[in-house]
Symmetry: C2
Subunit: 304 residues, 2 copies
């Protein structure tokens, strides 16, 4: 079994942490909230024989350096995408695939628009795309999305971090509620608490919500120009039982992704990659094997 | 100075606590969240020479018995209004005025519709009336109203009650944010923490949000028949700087209150009665003195 190692490198002036393991086509694995690079380990261990897997911690998350221990708005999708492209530069990855979840999905879309020549394929487990629009805050959906506002309160890290117990209650309830199998995270729950109790990690995660607020409001209010469609080959494997990202929200995906394959991940909620890692890994592998094979053919034709 | 005493009596099968002091026309003082009877003490001490003041703790709040220590939906506006009318019966109060804030405002409206012959006047510090409609959840207002959804999470009392510190952080931030003068509650903050750390008091307050959810959704979605207008003399003294209840929301009040006097309370936010008790007491006194005088005249005419 291939070993997965922790690495640190300087990116955009930040000491960035990432996990890396395996050999083959490089894949960047981009986490969500409340996650960090660790959430990709089940998928990484299954795919390390076929791909060069890199799972970074976004700024504010995991073991990547914090930009501030205070509420800050410097973790926009643009900033996180710039970090990821700089990391790829730093590691000499000219081209790569992206596997993204939740926050990572926002970042992957910015990367695909900013550097389409570098992103060979996009694989999403659910996808926060602009076509969701005002459905984020439909009155009956606010029982799901209230936290996107609560996370912007300047005192929330103090509350949730007031004790290890408070942190466990808060984080565990999201992991449970958003999972289809309610005990999916139980075995590793204390690792999650360890992670979010590290100095700055609660606020670091909440800074994503502060930073993304105006962009999200623009989508909700319809005040932003819709971004151009993405032509990169895209696979979306959307958790069938995700209570946060509703299945019906997939209706407008084709307007934003012109080369889209969509299907629903059975027996999984929000965390398809962690809840059902066998199937998630099969789907990631199949999608990027196909892209790698096509690329190899193109390269052979060029050589011939 | 008139003394204010704690009393207990059985109402609807619950041991109900109320503060009582003063002599004159009876006034029921109905609290909001995060409050309990205690919040009325500044007003009570100022008005006890002119009125018989009664400040009950709603079910789930203060020292009134809890119906359950678990999440429950038995604290609807109808249920709380029935408790208040039963309390008035129990104490032999045939007719009375109501002074209401926040949660108490919902309850006062039900009482005025259910027993118009008993309610001599309605005095509100802000008023959650049906005309607010979908404005509760306008996207830009969700930074204020997210808590109405968060409070329905089955684990929130466990989180906020995980320590005295967590409770203080949570409650204090509402008191500060909703006040115009940010230190208005600082001197008594530990009393607030004492209160909400009493067994069942956090969940008791949150049960209001669980119980009122469907009614609030009906108002937001416009799916409920508007209730008939209230013809009881009504005074609304709406905190000029209340960030939660916006001044502009007063526009439809005349559709729901046919005998309305509205003005804005200067130098006050959400808690007019606690933030500016001198002015609040003056306004309460003036309004109910006028009603008491008119009533006395009617009674004299009947006797003559």
């Amino acid at each position: 079994m291939t070993t997965i190692h922790s690495h640190f490198t300087a990116v955009n002036g930040l000491r960035m942490h990432y996990l890396r393991g395996g050999e083959g086509m490089p894949l960047l694995l981009l986490h969500g909230w409340p996650e960090w690079s660790h959430v990709w380990r089940p998928v990484m261990s299954r795919l390390a024989g076929r791909f060069d897997l890199l799972a970074p911690d976004f700024r504010g998350f995991g073991d990547t350096q914090k930009t501030s221990l205070q509420p800050a708005k410097d973790a926009t999708p643009d900033a996180l995408a710039a970090d990821m492209l700089a990391l790829a530069d730093q590691l000499g990855l000219e081209r790569f695939g992206i596997v993204a979840h939740d926050v990572g999905g926002f970042v992957a879309q910015v990367m695909a628009r900013r550097a389409p020549q570098r992103v060979q394929g996009l694989f999403f487990f659910n996808c926060a795309y602009p076509g969701i629009g005002a459905r984020w805050v439909e009155p009956r959906h606010l029982m799901e999305t209230w936290y996107q506002f609560f996370h912007q309160m300047p005192w929330i890290a103090e509350l949730v971090g007031s004790s290890r117990e408070a942190c466990r209650i808060y984080i565990a309830n999201f992991l449970r509620h958003w999972s289809h199998r309610k005990d999916a995270f139980d075995a590793e729950l204390e690792l999650w608490v360890d992670n979010f109790m590290k100095p700055g990690n609660l606020q670091g995660g909440f800074n994503w919500y502060l930073s993304n607020h105006e962009g999200r409001m623009a989508v909700i209010e319809g005040s932003a120009m819709p971004p151009p469609p993405i032509h990169t080959p895209t696979r979306i494997f959307w958790g069938e039982h995700d209570p946060l990202f509703k299945q019906s929200w997939t209706d407008r995906l084709p307007e934003f992704f012109t080369q889209l394959e969509l299907s629903f991940a059975p027996d999984a909620g929000h965390f398809v990659h962690y809840e059902t890692p066998d199937r998630a890994s099969d789907e990631i592998g199949r999608f990027f094997d196909h892209i790698a094979t096509k690329q190899a053919k193109v390269q052979r034709m060029r050589i011939d």
